[in-house]
Amino acid sequence: MLGKTAASLFWMSRYLERVENSARFIDAGFRISLTRSASASDEWSSVLKSSGVIDAYRKKHDDFASAKVIDFLLRDRDNASSVMAVMKNARDSARTARTALTREVWEATNESWMTLKAAMAKPVKEQDLPETLGLIRQQSALVRGATLGTMLRNDGFNFLRLGSFVERADSTARILDVKYYLLLPSVALIGSSVDNVQWETILRSVSAHRSFRLLNGTDISAQAVADYLILHKQMPRSLSFCYAKISDNLNYLDENYGRKSRSGELAHEICNDILSRPIEAIFESGLHEYISDFIAANNRLAAQIEMDFNFQDRIG
């Protein structure tokens, strides 16, 4: 497989994952803005932070009015990370890797792009937002379904999966990075219903509010929420889960190509070091530092994958 094709598959699924995560963030932010208008600005500001576009937003707007934030996140041309811009990147990557995709995966991606482009041709009104966000999630599900249902389990498939999980780990970690203070013991001690709502928002940003309750009942604590998002082995957006998958995919590639890659080792190190500490130890040594370390390690892994599989030409 061409290095460029591997790169396009990896990035195609990173972009698709990012689109889906953006929809979740916006959904969580929107909910707060509806139910607790006093803290809406803070909430939108942290959504913009988690999405990494707060600086670009501040250049354009002075306040965090819901309509402005929503338009910026969904479709503003000044935002290179808007849902539409990222969706366009995903489609361009799919077009570049067209020969490595099944017709079903390509068509699902192309149709998603067409559908979302039509749905967001004009600013999305607040009353239409839930529907639009639902559409984004539905389109992502279609592409994922086509991928799982029709792709040969070869190297191409594994590059697609790697992209999804690297992006997803990054996304979950970013939410924790922005909201870590809500999970600190000092805040948890207060134990008011206000904090419960905040925690629920975190869970909602990763579509885990229901599964969390299923597993924990009403027993909600900061530590339990953090544990769930970082270490839970069954929660599909937890850091541990993502890294278990990343290790599998890299193992497959190593086996397929008959060699040991540095990225395979690195993923192993991240699993064994960062992700095998108990949650008590993580809190003890500082949740924020822990998350920062993880984000840096995840970036290092992405760069190593790029190098190991010749995504780009290297001089020399």
């Binding site: 497989m1 460029k4 570049t96 020969t99 068509e107 590639l253």
Partner: protein
């Protein structure tokens, strides 16, 4: 569909019988379905310099264009003769240049021609083939009259539309194909791969590695490039995927560099190699031409084939065919006035309103004048351009092009068409896929069929014997 008078051409009889029994509403629905299908599949072409409408569909018409087996035999014989002559001409023009010595083609026409590549002099392309892929543009003016409009011996496009149009028709009207026996086109990609592999270079070891070279996703024909690579089961590469490794052109894979034996390139000669041709090109591979000359890679079509389909040479094609095959041309050439010649220019200037005037190096229907369709103002503006740079132009009469019905909102309506059959040349022989791409001028009375100018396409049927 109708011949002279109002009788139905025999080839169309079965189709017309079917059509007469069809509900018009159903056809409208099918028409809309076809459009949705093309969009979904991404069978689009990019238009340069337009942001929002950057990907367009080529209009597809649901009424097929039908040729009888007999008509096709006549046509394909003529095309084969012409393609044989073109390859012989290319070999000659880059070797001993007998045709120039014999005075059949003026030497200035070659010497001063940008399409002539001096770097190709004395080079022997692997398998002795210059033009592996040709798309001959044909128009019909009467029952037995076919003219060759252009030879397209560089990188002809449109074959993906031939294949997808048929696929679409099969999906929409399966019952039609059960009733009427139409010759297959679907084996084209397999034949293309085989015929490319049959021209592997000297340094090829084992099974030839074939790849398609594209300028990238923003190129207007990108869909076709990826389609062909996909259908042949070969890699689709861009210039930045390639570099020269140990005297071979190699592609960067996830496991290192792999040598390519045959490169079906869909970029022009100029952009192929910044070291040997256009120095600013970012699309090509520095040094690929040197590898080519040393027998390290086959480039299809060979560099320099553009001299054979150059419009300045077009009027000499009958001589070229005769010179190399020793036979009279089977297909007509459109009478052509060479504006580089004083007397002919005078005639053209006098008859501008009746003629089609084309740029010698133009393509895609840009920069041409269709006299009968142009306004007085347009003719006057063109006249000035023509006088200014006469040798840049040729002129042809407007032919009484045949029409084929298209399905419009108001029912069937005649439109002018041309036909581009696709020809594969390999050391084992010449193959022409029965059918080709029928391009249709969607505007009533228009003679311009180019997709860049709003032309559409149709499925093209060659009936079984």
């Amino acid at each position: 569909m109708l011949g002279n008078g109002e009788h139905v051409r025999p080839a169309y009889q079965d189709y017309k019988d079917w059509l007469d029994g069809e509900d018009v509403k159903r056809l409208h629905r099918k028409s809309a379905e076809a459009e949705a299908f093309f969009r979904k599949t991404g069978i689009t072409f990019n238009v340069y310099g337009q942001d929002e409408a950057d990907e367009r569909l080529i209009p597809f018409d649901v009424v097929p264009r039908v040729l009888s087996a007999r008509e096709w035999r006549k046509l394909s014989k003529g095309i084969e003769q012409r393609v044989r002559a073109i390859n012989a001409f290319l070999y000659d023009i880059y070797h001993r240049q007998e045709i120039l010595r014999a005075g059949r083609v003026p030497i200035e026409l070659i010497a001063n021609n940008a399409a002539f590549l001096p770097q190709m002099i004395g080079v022997n392309p692997p398998g002795g083939i210059y033009t592996h892929i040709i798309g001959t543009d044909i128009v019909r003016t009467g029952d037995e009259e076919f003219y060759v409009l252009e030879d397209n011996a560089r990188t002809p496009s449109g074959v993906s539309y031939m294949l997808e149009n048929r696929e679409t028709m099969l999906q929409m009207f399966p019952e039609l194909f059960a009733k009427i026996k139409v010759q297959e086109v679907s084996n084209y990609p397999g034949q293309l791969r085989r015929s490319l592999a049959a021209c592997a270079p000297q340094k090829c070891e084992g099974k030839p590695v074939v790849a398609v070279l594209t300028p990238g996703i923003h190129n207007s024909a990108y869909f076709e490039h990826s389609f062909l690579a996909d259908q042949m089961g070969v890699e689709l590469v861009e210039g930045h995927d390639l570099k020269i490794v140990d005297g071979r052109v190699a592609m960067r894979t996830t496991e290192g560099y792999t040598a390519i034996d045959v490169l079906y390139r869909r970029i022009d000669d100029d952009y192929l190699d910044p070291l040997n041709f256009e120095p600013h090109s970012m699309l090509g591979v520095p040094g690929i031409f040197d590898v080519y000359r040393s027998g390290g890679i086959t480039i299809a079509n060979a560099p320099g084939t553009g001299i054979s389909d150059d419009k300045a040479l077009y009027s000499y094609m009958p001589d070229i065919v005769e010179f190399y095959t020793g036979e009279k041309p089977l297909l007509e050439n459109v009478p052509t006035w060479r504006c580089s010649e004083k007397d002919e220019l005078a005639y053209v200037l006098e008859h501008l309103e009746e003629l089609v005037v084309k740029e010698v190096h133009g393509s895609g229907g840009y920069g041409m004048l269709v006299g009968p369709a142009a306004s007085k103002k347009e003719v006057a503006a063109f006249r000035a351009k023509l006088i200014d740079n006469a040798s840049n132009y040729i002129a042809q009469p407007t032919l009484a092009l045949s029409t084929v019905p298209i399905f419009t909102k108001k029912g069937l309506s005649p439109r002018h068409v041309d036909l581009r059959p696709f020809v594969l040349v390999s050391p084992d022989g010449i193959r022409i896929t029965p059918g080709g791409l029928t391009r249709v001028a969607m505007t009533k009375g228009s003679l311009v069929v180019n997709s860049s100018q709003g032309g559409g396409t149709k499925d093209t049927w060659v009936l079984e014997e």
